[in-house]
Amino acid sequence: MENTHSINYGTYVLVWLGLVVLTTLTVAIAGLNLASLTVVVALAIATTKSLLVANYFMHVKSDSRVFKVFILVCIVIFLTMIILTFVDLIFRVP
């Protein structure tokens, strides 16, 4: 069996450093008053952090394509659920 993961400690530590920086950033930005943008920025940073964790710590980046398609399908199903819920909420007649 050939393990294709890059077993380089340095890369992982760099990714961790990036995650800590992004955490600091999201806390700092929450202090500013961005009104309705706050949640958008917070979610954008959280998504970036998740991509880092998934790609490097969970090795999705070096996994075969079947895993990537799998994950994508799951995320699309989840997003569909969110969109359908909000279509209901926004257009609901009181």
């Binding site: 990714v15 995650l19 929450a30 959280a46 710590f57 090795h59 895993f67 909000f86």
Partner: protein, 210 residues
């Protein structure tokens, strides 16, 4: 396929091992977790949409510092979890065990923080049907309900992850997990990282609304 190997042991029995299949099974399980928490995130989003002002007021009472410390703890534990896998692949058994031990300790520290955070809230009367809840608006009550259910379910996952990793630590010690047979450890790591990702979203949604 390069992932399927057949090991011939002393008794010339064939032991069949399929690492990719094992990993795929783990991912399938993680998808069910994603939908479990996903449902709650949708509930959160819907209520936040309906009571955005109440949510802001309620979130102000949560301790951002504790939330930030816990975020760093989980991120660090994720790093050491993946490093322990890298270490075993480099045949550094003892280093791998230290890293796994550190990961479990980080999980424990996370739970201790959570315990103090929750007990402070409960002490002040902010819990479902608690004395302070009667004075709160509907949106604030919903916020605390979601806060306890979502962070509570997440904490439960941290406990399960710690048990999972402890078993892996024993396996590494007993050399049931080795440099060329470590899919179990990777699967435990995948679970731990997913718990980390869920917290990455919980943190800004509960602690950082201003």
């Amino acid at each position: 396929m390069d992932s399927e190997i057949i090991i011939e042991n002393k008794n010339t029995e064939h032991i069949y091992r399929d690492d990719v299949g094992s990993k795929m099974g783990m991912w399938l399980f993680l998808f069910t977790e994603l939908i479990l928490f996903g449902g709650m995130f949708i509930l959160y989003a819907s209520y936040r949409f309906m009571y955005s002002d109440n949510f802001r007021v309620a979130a102000m009472r949560l301790d951002t510092v504790v939330g930030t410390v816990n975020t760093i703890l989980l991120l660090t534990s994720s790093l050491t979890a993946v490093l322990s896998l890298a270490a075993i692949q480099k045949k550094q058994k003892l280093f791998s065990m230290y890293l796994l031990g550190f990961t479990i300790v980080c999980g424990g520290a996370f739970l201790i923080n959570k315990y103090f955070e929750w007990s402070t809230k409960i002490h002040h009367g902010f819990y479902p049907r608690g004395p302070e809840m009667a004075n709160l608006s509907d949106g604030e009550v919903v916020f605390y309900g979601l806060y306890y259910v979502m962070t509570g379910l997440h904490a439960l996952h941290v406990i399960v992850g710690m048990v999972f990793l402890t078993v892996m630590l024993v396996f590494v010690y007993k050399e049931k997990i080795t440099f060329d047979n470590n899919q179990k450890l990777e699967n435990a790591g995948l679970y731990w990282h997913l718990v980390d990702i869920i917290w990455i979203f919980l943190f800004p949604l509960f602690y950082l609304i201003h």
